[in-house]
């Protein structure tokens, strides 16, 4: 009961009114609050005079209605933003829509692991010196291309090129998790030095204890889903396809940006790897010597190995840094290509706008170009993030296919988006930047050589008329803008736009 009295007391009612006043436009706030306070006095007086039981609740309900009133004032105030922003065709609405789409595509990009990897920098320190070796022409392949025997020979014969070489092979194996509990995992069977080569911190263990034959590193996702995120799992021994493996740590999913989706990595010493078939294939990573004599072209390195039969084997060696930069390189390439191709799809001039320096404020002219630049910036980001979402968001496609998809989406996306930006800019009033409306046909096509014919658009704020010729002629080749002087303003009811323009 006491709480109820407190809630419906005068200070609480006044507090509600003050809160609601914050919604009202600043210029009208004081008068608005004075009116509501006066009305509150009368409401309370009336309720007390009647001594009604629910009087206090009625007073509170009355005060809560102030929020609707204040909101109405805010919404209908020509100087405040919401109504102005939400007008169809307004520049704010256009910019906000583009910003929202860009933010959404960035959010999707960050949610999809493949797309996220494409925008984030390489997680490997010294990625410039780390190369992924693959058979010539298969640098983007998602399946292994290097035979184990090649890896074994490079370990000894290519020491003048590489300071270290590591091997891994994606396999699927049954793992004995607990008593009578098995799970089939994607495991990277790897040489002992894989994580050291990648400069990823992996806890070392006492290697004198040899009751196990391999070390197992879990991915964060597998650790959470199969072991419930139990930190005590480190140090346990599990059976991977009958082989005992010691769990030594957990790495985050973002640390692995190499081909193959892995739930765990099984690090084995060379003796165990040698036991594999020499023709089995895997991926090979190497740390290059800075003074190495490898053939290099535009950051790509090539290696040629002479076989015993006299033939040559060609290998591509792409640095991990180069690999991580590929999406950015494609983005820049397609952006430039789209800019170069743009004149072939649409005329670049925005039209003829007569000089109006005496009457048009400089800030208004600048606003038009700022708006155009903003649209370009947002559209570039939107197309880039969308292309990454589509190309790298789907894990099933290979890296090469993903690059092709990114290339196509980026190029056509930029081209059509730039075309739209120019068309949109041409259809806007140069003063208030709102989309022009009320298209009207003017003239007759049969009189093309006597007078112009085409479409006339009008600015709802009364700032001017846009004339677009039906057929470009030598005297009327492009669209023309005609400024209307302030004497016309009486014909236009759009009071919210008029102050932005002619003074």
């Amino acid at each position: 009961m006491k709480l109820s009295l407190l809630l419906h007391s005068l200070p609480v009612s006044l507090f509600i009114l003050r809160c609601a006043a914050l919604l009202a436009p600043g210029r009208e706030r004081a008068e608005w609050l004075a009116e509501w306070r006066a009305e509150l006095w009368h409401v309370r007086d009336s309720c007390h005079a009647r001594s009604c039981f629910h009087g206090n609740e009625a007073v509170t309900a009355f005060c809560l209605g102030a929020f609707q009133d204040a909101f109405w004032l805010r919404w209908n105030n020509p100087r405040t933003m919401p109504r102005h922003v939400c007008r169809i065709g307004s520049p704010s609405r256009c910019a906000l829509s583009l910003a929202a789409w860009t933010a959404a595509s960035l959010l999707i990009c960050l949610c999809l692991p493949g797309a996220r990897r494409a925008i984030l920098p390489s997680p490997y320190p010294h990625a410039d010196d780390l190369v992924m070796i693959s058979r010539g022409g298969y640098s983007g392949a998602q399946s292994p291309t290097i035979r184990l025997q090649d890896y074994q020979s490079w370990k000894t014969s290519a020491q003048h090129l590489f300071t270290g070489v590591a091997f891994y092979q994606p396999i699927r194996k049954r793992v004995h998790i607990a008593r009578n509990q098995f799970a089939e995992l994607s495991i990277g069977r790897a040489s002992d030095n894989l994580f050291e080569l990648l400069n990823l911190p992996v806890p070392t263990e006492d290697r004198s204890n040899r009751e196990y034959t391999a070390r197992l590193i879990l991915s964060q996702a597998a650790w959470r889903s199969l072991w419930g995120g139990d930190p005590r799992i480190v140090g346990h021994v599990v059976r991977v396809a009958g082989q005992r493996a010691l769990i030594v740590g957990v790495v985050s999913q973002s640390s692995w940006q190499l081909p193959g989706h892995m739930d765990a990595w099984m690090l084995e010493d060379e003796q165990h790897l040698d036991a594999l078939s020499s023709s089995s294939r895997g991926f090979v990573l190497a740390h290059t010597r800075t003074s190495g004599s490898m053939a290099q072209l535009d950051g790509w390195r090539y290696m040629t190995v002479r076989r015993e039969d006299g033939a040559n084997d060609h290998f591509d060696c792409i640095s991990l840094a180069q690999r991580a930069q590929l999406p950015s390189s494609i983005f820049l390439f397609t952006l430039i290509l789209a800019f170069l191709s743009l004149p072939a799809t649409t005329p670049l001039p925005l039209g003829e706008y007569p000089r109006h320096s005496g009457r048009l404020p400089r800030a208004t002219s600048a606003r038009r170009w700022i708006f155009l630049s903003l649209k370009f910036s947002l559209v570039v980001l939107l197309v880039h993030f969308t292309s990454l979402d589509v190309a790298y968001g789907v894990q099933a496609v290979s890296f090469t296919t993903a690059q092709c998809i990114q290339l196509a989406i980026s190029f056509f996306g930029f081209l059509f988006a730039f075309r739209w930006i120019l068309q949109d800019q041409r259809r806007r009033c140069p003063v208030c930047l709102r989309l022009l409306s009320n298209p009207a046909r003017v003239g007759q096509a049969s009189q093309n050589f006597l007078a112009w014919n085409g479409t006339e658009l009008i600015c709802a704020g009364g700032h001017g008329l846009l004339h677009i010729p039906e057929l470009p002629t030598s005297w009327f080749s492009t669209q023309r803008w005609l400024y209307l002087d302030p004497s016309w303003s009486g014909l236009f009811s759009d009071v919210y736009i008029a102050p932005a323009g002619l003074v």
Binding site: A38, A61, C63, L64, G65, Q68, W72, N76
Partner: protein, 105 residues
């Protein structure tokens, strides 16, 4: 051809209430039974459209009665003309809130 003003039944009722002599927000609420969140925004809309005008009362009157200064509303000429049109559209409006002498603010 005269343009017929478009008012909702609620707005027309508030207009009729003010015309009937309920010249401040709370009295309009009491007469119509509408909540404050409906009455005050509606009155602002009517004022914006030039159908009613508001005026603060004189300080001396409020001081004499020992209460805060109050804002009163009254119909404009356009408001009166609009109300007449509304009477044709909503015939029960006058019966619902009968007109009486407007107290001078």
């Amino acid at each position: 051809m005269a343009i017929e003003p478009k008012l909702s039944h609620t707005a027309a009722m508030i207009l009729q209430t003010i015309h009937a002599g309920q010249i401040y927000g709370f009295s309009v609420m009491e007469a119509t039974g509408l909540p404050s969140g409906t009455v005050y925004p509606a009155m602002r809309r009517l004022e914006r459209d030039g159908l009613i005008v508001s005026k603060w009362e004189q300080q001396s009157i409020a001081d004499a009665e020992q209460r805060p200064l109050r804002k009163y509303y009254k119909l404009t000429r356009t408001g009166v003309a609009t109300l007449e049109v509304m009477h044709k559209r909503y015939p029960l409006l006058e019966k619902l809130i009968p007109s009486r002498e407007v107290k001078n603010a």
